[in-house]
């Protein structure tokens, strides 16, 4: 397989057909916009919709919670416990999708090989197993709080939307291992900060045992990030030499 950056017949640039490109520019300059203003017109319309105050969705009502979660909510801490449950739901969803990302990466490496500077199948498999364990950790933690771990919380939903592009890159048969690793790096960067903030939040709600367990997950995620960053960086430099 050719390297993703090898020369080919890319036709997207204006320089591909200079004569035609000049025609395009001439035509664009000859046209008069049918409405005055600029891109702020779009922004202003967008703002009008934002101001309607709708949201993506909500957390489930306390009636569906039991045990510690109800206790937390009764502690007079306002919305803070709900934020914790929402963010735990987000990490749970992210780890579950992350597991699938690494499955897709394994297929890619299985088919193309990781290269001298890239990951081995075993290394990816180790990360995959960590992701599945982290998913399970969050599932149990939510259950221990009396919350329903099958709920798709608002933050979980939004993190799923965020990951859509990453999944497209990983599952496209035409992308290279290096391109996939770059997409995974985006996921790992967000995941690292996500765990860090979740730990701070748990501590602020005196959930020290939970924070301790999450700290272990963060340590593992930090290792993932170092590994992925290293593969991306070394592969890019190797390809350029």
């Amino acid at each position: 397989m050719k390297s993703a950056s090898d020369m080919g017949m890319n036709r997207t640039g204006a320089g591909t057909a200079p004569r035609l490109s000049k025609e395009m520019i001439d035509a664009a300059r000859a046209g008069t916009p049918s409405s005055g203003g600029d891109g702020w017109a779009l922004a202003s319309e967008r703002e009008e919709y934002i101001e309607q105050g709708e949201r993506i969705g909500s957390m489930p009502p306390p009636s569906s919670l039991k045990g510690a979660a109800t206790t937390l909510l009764k502690m007079g801490m306002g919305e803070k416990p709900n934020v914790l449950l929402d963010k735990m739901g987000e990490r749970l969803a992210f780890e579950r999708t992350g597991s699938r990302l690494y499955e897709a990466l394994m297929s890619k490496v299985q088919a193309l090989g990781g290269g001298a500077d890239g990951p081995t199948l075993d290394e990816i498999n180790d990360i995959y197993n960590d992701e599945v364990r982290h998913f399970e950790l969050l599932r149990r933690a939510l259950e221990d709080l009396g919350a329903d771990p099958t709920v798709q919380t608002p933050s979980a939903d939004v993190s799923g939307v965020t990951a859509m592009g990453i999944l497209q890159v990983l599952t496209d048969p035409r992308t290279s291992v290096a391109q996939c690793l770059h997409a995974v790096l985006v996921a790992e960067l967000a995941d690292n900060d996500g765990w860090r903030m979740l730990i701070d939040l748990a501590r602020s709600l005196d959930q020290d045992d939970m924070a301790k367990q999450f700290q272990q997950a963060l340590t593992e995620e930090e290792r993932h990030l170092r590994q992925v960053r290293g593969w991306v960086s070394r592969q890019m430099l190797a390809e350029a030499t």
């Binding site: 025609e23 395009m24 409405s35 600029d38 779009l42």
Partner: protein, 393 residues
């Protein structure tokens, strides 16, 4: 050498076979393939989509034809899948939209120039100028929403500038119907043209209706709502130019002929060596389907298909940039409006015309197409490139 529809019998139906992997192939490259390969893929998806649509409608009205229709339709379904799945997943829905408008402009421009009936040619030019403006609006959206250059898709073949402004396209239904060709006297190419453009516009409408809600941005959702409504008008216009007195079987026969004609046009001009054999195979499949329907026509209507079909296929769709023709039409006909089935200059449109009242109502709370393209002028590398360079000077 032109293809002889009567002599070439193509592949028999029982040998028109598929499997799932056959249908799901390596797609075209957004970056490396010629834009006209993508244009052909999109148009042929539209042609197959129309085949399914027509055949389902026909089945609902004709008990005796239900089984033959089901047989052919199953093949059309798989042909459409194979063709449509050639689009690669790195096209965002909005980038694919840019490609759809390029199809509408370049294919309609080719048809308008080859159409022998002057009234029908006028109808095509009228519709084309509207799709030309849609391209400009969507290009502004692509730039301002995704930060991308529409010319990465268009490859400098199709101009990006205002046409007849989209805000003016909204017409009362009374002004969207046109005069049909006469089935007895119209030339076969006129019938093939009408089916081709109707199919293309119908799939464009369906595509916008499908992807509009995929956008988070409210202005994008508005723009798709607005332009989908105009595409619905275009379908209304183009289906009305087809003689409604053709029998169901006559219409089926013409649909199959239009499919042969279009695959044959693709086959003759395709440069991608992976895609060309697909067009060749489907020319043979469509010839097989055409002869199957010819036999039904002979046995059920007791008429000779040669009364309707041309012996040899007419000149193919010209898959090339029609820049000069489009500019000429823009210069001469941008101010045309529709009044009943006729076209008039905008100054002849009275303030109380049905379309004016309708348009005023639709635009009474703002115009998405005006908002999205406010002050927009395309330049290579997006308007930000122009702005950033001006800032640096």
């Amino acid at each position: 050498m032109a293809l002889n529809l009567m002599e070439q019998r193509g592949t028999p139906l029982d040998r028109q076979l598929f499997d799932w992997r056959d249908m799901v192939r390596v797609p075209i490259s957004k970056l490396d393939d010629d834009a006209f390969t993508r244009v052909r893929v999109i148009l042929m998806n539209g042609i197959e989509s129309e085949a399914l649509r027509f055949q389902h409608a026909c089945a609902r009205m004709n008990k005796d034809l239900q089984l033959p229709l089901a047989r052919v339709r199953r093949i059309e379904q798989h042909q459409q899948t194979l063709v449509n799945w050639l689009l690669s997943a790195d096209h965002s829905p909005l980038e694919t939209t840019i490609a759809y408008e390029q199809v509408a402009i370049e294919v309609t421009a080719s048809v308008a120039q080859h159409e022998p009936d002057p009234y029908l040619a006028q109808v095509y030019r009228f519709g084309m100028l509207e799709d030309f403006d849609h391209l400009y609006r969507y290009s502004a959206l692509l730039d301002r929403l995704e930060g991308k250059d529409a010319n990465n898709i268009l490859q400098s073949y199709t101009d990006i500038r205002p046409g007849r402004p989209t805000i003016e396209h909204h017409r009362a239904p009374e002004d969207d119907l046109r005069e049909p060709y006469d089935r007895a006297t119209a030339q076969p190419i006129s019938k093939l043209h009408a089916l081709t453009i109707m199919a293309g516009e119908h799939q464009t409408h369906d595509y916008y209706m499908h992807v509009g809600p995929l956008f988070a941005d409210p202005v994008a959702r508005q723009l798709y709502a607005e332009i989908a409504s105009i595409e619905e008008q275009h379908v209304t216009q183009y289906e009305s130019i087809i003689d409604p007195h053709e029998t169901w079987l006559e219409k089926w026969l013409l649909h199959e002929a239009a499919e042969v004609y279009n695959y044959y046009s693709c086959m003759q001009q395709e440069k991608n060596s992976r895609i060309k054999p697909i067009w060749e195979r489907f020319v043979d499949y469509e010839l097989g389907q055409l002869h199957y329907v010819m036999d039904l026509y002979r046995s059920m209507e007791r008429r000779d298909p040669a009364e309707i079909l041309p012996a040899e296929l007419p000149d193919p769709i010209d898959y090339d940039s029609h820049r000069e023709f489009v500019r000429e039409v823009l210069r001469d006909e941008v101010d045309l409006r529709a009044r009943g089935t006729r076209f008039i200059h905008k100054v002849e449109e009275p303030d109380d015309a049905l379309s004016v009242l309708y348009r005023n109502q639709m635009n009474s709370n703002g115009s998405p197409s005006q908002i999205v393209a406010a002050g927009y002028q395309w330049s290579p590398g997006t308007e930000l490139a122009e702005r950033a360079a001006a800032g640096a000077r």
